[in-house]
């Protein structure tokens, strides 16, 4: 096992010194292989990798989503049918679970924390960073935004991206606001013919040094916990400084970058047609943002964990149906609940198609992505944490194999988070706590 803080460089990887059989990071996989602009590999052929999460609440119906057999992914089970067109570019993981280790089940909370932070907290307060932030700290340091989060059901707190227990990256809830944030006046088109840095940007960048200088005097009277918290503030400040630095430089051209049409205001809420409309707009904006090199990490929360999605005119939410709708004796499942899952998986397919639709040479944007899905439960009706559905999309520039069904037997969901980190170049060989701790890379999908 290598210490996490030990530097990983090209030479160490080439010499195979990542240590331990568990390390499966292949040769072309680390960010240190990128050229100094971060726009292509050293050989000039590949654009940088992208990591993303796509979260929805309440899992899926057991028995209706798992592929029939492990190994090559062929026919999709019924609840994954909407994703059938992406079979060759996705993976399915079944049989993984969250271990409580005697801790109370924080319903709709413990499961997703285990999956995304590798830790099931003792209570309803998380205390570990989510996998996307760990990856963003490695691959997201040279882009305008370290990561972008969106929440489609109207509440910025639905975001599952957290840097620490109480520091949650809030999600944009308005596609119009996201458009302005990315493609508004501060956007620099990488393909523009001429580039002239804005003097106001240079002045602002210089002025922010004064805020950074506040650090020493402000931190000296704080206790340890507050110091750690305020460290997050100064990390954010560095990101803001970096944004301005990038605005002052001519960006490298990106052939696939086009500026999308302006997005207007849309209704915001939990009614599913509203959520779908906003999700589609978000999907398009995020795909364009990635193609334009604005970020390398994107996190989508389609719903909250206790899915508040609802049909117009219905008295119950998706969550209420999960508990209160009787299992249809003939069908063997809850039909309305299954309807919601169908809608959600169709939206996930739309998101993946948005990435696939952007052509980058003879490949697509999806090909340099690794999108990992996350959810809070295995079987919503029972608040179950067994057999939690997990999927990935994209091959991350060939670092991942796709078209695979990994059928595990009661192993921790944190295995996927560990594997994603390793594939993205995070120098970690073991991740998680208690029974969620794992050093078992999912080797079946590592190229």
């Amino acid at each position: 096992m290598i210490p996490i803080n030990r530097a990983v460089n090209r030479r160490r990887v080439l010499r195979g010194m990542l240590g331990g059989a568990a390390v499966t990071v292949g040769l072309p996989f680390l960010d240190c292989f990128l050229d100094t602009n971060g726009t292509a590999l050293a050989d000039g052929k590949e654009l940088p990798v992208v990591f993303g999460t796509w979260f929805w609440g309440l899992g899926l119906n057991p028995g209706r989503w798992e592929p029939a057999k492990p190994g090559k992914l062929e026919a999709m089970n019924v609840e994954l049918q909407p994703l059938a067109a992406h079979t060759s570019k996705m993976n399915v993981f079944s049989g993984m679970k969250a271990f409580l280790d005697g801790k109370p089940n924080g319903v709709h909370f413990s499961g997703v924390q285990g999956m995304l932070t590798g830790t099931v907290p003792r209570g309803m307060t998380a205390d570990k960073p989510s996998v996307d932030t760990l990856i963003a700290d490695v691959i997201g340091t040279r882009t305008r935004f370290r990561s972008i989060e969106v929440c489609c059901a109207g509440n910025p707190s639905h975001s599952q991206s957290r840097r620490s227990g109480a520091v949650v990256n809030p999600g944009e809830v308005s596609p119009a606001a996201l458009y302005t944030r990315i493609f508004g006046p501060e956007f620099t088109d990488p393909n523009a013919a001429d580039f002239k840095p804005d003097p106001a940007v240079l002045v602002r960048r210089s002025a922010l040094t004064a805020v950074a200088d506040d650090r020493q005097s402000f931190m000296k009277t704080l206790g340890a916990a507050d110091k750690a918290r305020l460290d997050e503030y100064f990390t954010s400040l560095r990101e803001l400084e970096q944004q301005l630095d990038l605005q002052a430089q001519k960006p490298a051209p990106l052939a696939a970058c086009t500026v999308p049409g302006k997005v207007g205001e849309t209704p915001i809420g939990t009614e599913i047609e509203i959520v779908k409309t906003n999700h589609k707009l978000f999907a398009g904006l995020l795909a364009h943002a990635l193609a334009c090199g604005q970020t390398q990490v994107v996190n989508v929360a389609f719903s909250d964990a206790t899915s508040s999605l609802r049909k117009a005119g219905g008295t119950q939410t998706h969550h209420e149906y999960s508990h209160e709708e009787p299992v249809d004796a003939q069908l063997g499942y809850q039909p309305t609940l299954a309807w919601f899952f169908g809608e959600i998986m169709t939206q996930l397919a739309f998101y993946v198609s948005s990435l696939e639709s952007i052509k980058e040479g003879d490949k697509t944007l999806l090909d340099r992505c690794a999108i990992m899905t996350a959810t809070d439960l295995g079987y919503a009706k029972l608040h179950g944490l067994e057999n939690m559905p997990m999927l990935t999309f994209g091959s991350a520039n060939g670092r991942l194999k796709t078209g695979v069904h990994v059928a595990a037997q009661g192993e921790p969901t944190s295995r996927l988070g560990l594997t994603m980190q390793q594939v993205m170049g995070v120098p970690v060989s073991s991740w998680g706590t208690d029974s969620m701790q794992t050093s078992k890379t999912i080797t079946e999908i590592v190229a």
Binding site: L100, P104, N105, G106, M124, T125, F145, E149, G154, N155, R163, G165, A166, V167, V168, N169, P170, E172, A177, R181, V203, S206, A207, A210, V211, D214, S217, F218, K220, T221, L222, G223, D226, R229, L230, E232, Y233, T235, S236, E239, L240, Q243, T270, E271, S308, R310, A312, G313, G314, T315, Q316, T317, E324, P326, V327, K381, L382, H383, G384, L385
Partner: protein, 560 residues
């Protein structure tokens, strides 16, 4: 049924344990730990309005607050600023600063004129930034801080060839500094109690001002801090009495109850427009305002008993709210008018008002469980256990099931499962008393054609309708005890520690002896030395205070 009894016993035990745990926080001996709180959106807006006037607009998206142990005020001590959050603070700060230095405002908001508007002006920048910085940082700037910001203004003025633009840049860096965005508590040895620590005078001023007014200290309070008055009991009491007598107390009281009642959740509250066509954003906004008016009228205008907010029939309505309540109201369109529900009406007190019943419901139907839980957790400070894992909910059928037409019938079926019964027994009998109000807050008498039974019980106090529930909450000693703990926690930004248990008990006793007068409770907290006592700082955390700009030798420029 042994399982049933066991579940009840477990639930009862959990409630008791959780109530006691309110006082079991850090225990470091003498006071509690220092807390560093992020300004809330409302506090940020209030400070900008107080310092620059209401014409300066604050636009933008603020980082979401989080609730801890029942209050956003305690969550404020847990949060930081994320990258996207700082992006927004940056935009808001630049926007505010640009307005302040704009041609429309500079003559009134900048207390000097530069010798040449195209060039830096050290003296004018120093005057503006020292005076403004004192209000924003809630203390005088240190010489180093002032010099640094004046340099920012001068450098930016050179770069942009404009004094005012440069000044705006410097102001923006103050507005996005952690020294403005976070309220820091500075500890100092307490000369009257050897070995103990207290907040320094400026920290005291902030503690007091945000507690009573939800605002930063005003010039008079800062002056009292500077003179050392806040370190004497008489000086402190003088300021507390001034602030309690001020009309600004209402803003503080409204902020406290907005937090305690969880009104922030209205931002994302959804009601189905097809089922509740009357419930819209205007109703949601007015409903919150109605409850706040009911509270401030009872507690401040009538100087009444805190418990009466649960039973008073006096309230205020707008025409749109009157439509939801289905009562006649004579009021100009959009305006508020007093209204009193008649004796015998089920509406009595804040629990039966639209804000409470709508907030604690599902989007498409009422929920006795959510409402009962809210009464326990929000008003009585009792923690209800979270639902267990692996529970089969099959017994609760859909609303169209002919066998279970009402919520009472559906919940009764659900509660035959012993695992579920324990928790539902402590929530549902309370919430069933509010079943006469649908999810949108309107009155109803039947559900699916069956007459609604609104009888219920709160810890042995039986009632037949919402007014009876209101009386039960009013008479429950947990209600006033709860608001005392909440108010203290709200002011402290944390749960009281074990060392502060006696203080909380004495506050509760005084509250009762004084007839449950809320302003008196606030005064009692605000003049208590315990409110400003902090546990000994960690090694190395206390440094010698930096030299304040006001103490530094004056330069020729700054004397102009």
């Amino acid at each position: 049924m042994p399982h049933f009894k066991k579940a009840l016993a477990v639930a009862a035990l959990t409630l008791t344990v959780c109530s006691t745990a309110l006082l079991a926080a850090d225990d470091k001996g003498g006071g509690g730990p220092e807390v560093t709180r992020r300004l809330s959106q409302e506090q940020y807006r209030q400070v900008i309005s107080d310092v620059f006037g209401p014409t300066i607009k604050v636009g933008g998206r603020f980082e979401p607050d989080i609730r801890r142990d029942g209050l956003l005020a305690m969550g404020a001590a847990q949060v930081s600023v994320t990258a996207s959050g700082l992006e927004e603070y940056d935009k808001i700060a630049r926007n505010v600063a640009a307005q302040v230095v704009s041609e429309a405002h500079r003559d009134t908001l900048i207390p000097c004129t530069p010798a040449n508007a195209k060039q830096p002006d050290d003296a004018c920048a120093t005057k503006f930034l020292s005076e403004t910085g004192r209000m924003l940082y809630r203390r005088p700037l240190t010489q180093e801080e002032l010099t640094g910001r004046v340099k920012v203004a001068n450098d930016a003025a050179v770069g942009l060839k404009d004094f005012y633009s440069g000044l705006g840049i410097a102001l923006a860096t103050m507005l996005e500094s952690p020294k403005f965005l976070f309220r820091e508590e500075i500890a100092e040895p307490d000369p009257d109690h050897s070995g103990q620590y207290r907040m320094d005078a400026y920290s005291k001023a902030s503690q007091l001002s945000f507690f009573l007014w939800n605002a930063a200290p005003d010039p008079e309070l800062l002056a009292a801090a500077e003179k050392g008055d806040l370190n004497t009991q008489s000086g402190l009491a003088k300021q507390v009495d001034r602030m309690i007598a001020s009309p600004r107390l209402e803003g503080g009281v409204r902020a406290f109850f907005t937090d305690m009642l969880g009104f922030d959740e209205f931002q994302t509250l959804a009601k189905d427009a097809m089922i509740f066509p009357k419930f819209n954003t205007k109703v949601a906004k007015d409903a919150q305002e109605q409850t706040l008016r009911t509270i401030t009228n009872t507690l401040l205008t009538e100087k009444g008993d805190y418990r009466d907010i649960f039973t008073t029939r006096k309230t205020f309505l707008t025409p749109v709210l009157a439509s939801v309540y289905e009562v006649p109201l004579v009021a100009p369109a959009g305006n508020w008018a007093p209204y009193e529900f008649p004796e015998g009406d089920p509406r009595a007190g804040i629990v039966s008002e639209v804000a409470f019943v709508a907030l604690h419901s599902h989007p498409g139907r009422s929920s006795p469980t959510l409402r009962g839980k809210a009464v326990r957790e929000v008003l009585l400070c009792q923690k209800v256990p979270t639902p267990p894992a692996n529970v089969n909910f099959t017994l609760v059928q859909d609303t169209k099931n002919p066998q279970y037409k009402t919520a009472r019938a559906r919940l009764h079926a659900h509660a035959t499962d012993a695992t579920c019964a324990g928790c539902h027994k402590i929530m549902d009998p309370i919430g069933l008393g509010l079943e006469a109000f649908d999810s949108g807050g309107s009155l109803r008498s039947s559900e699916n054609g069956e007459k609604i039974d609104t009888s219920g019980e709160l810890d042995g106090m039986k009632f037949t309708d919402a007014a009876g529930l209101a009386k039960a909450v009013h008479d429950d000693p947990a209600a006033p005890a709860c608001v005392v703990t909440r108010a203290a926690s709200y002011g402290l930004g944390r749960l009281p520690t074990k060392d502060e248990t006696d203080w909380i008990k004495s506050l509760q006793a005084s509250f009762k002896e004084g007839g449950y007068r809320f302003p008196a409770l606030l005064r009692q907290i605000a003049i208590s030395p315990d409110f400003y006592r902090v546990s000994p700082p960690q090694m190395g955390a206390i440094d010698a205070p930096s030299k304040l700009a006001s103490e530094a030798p004056k330069t020729k420029e700054s004397q102009k």
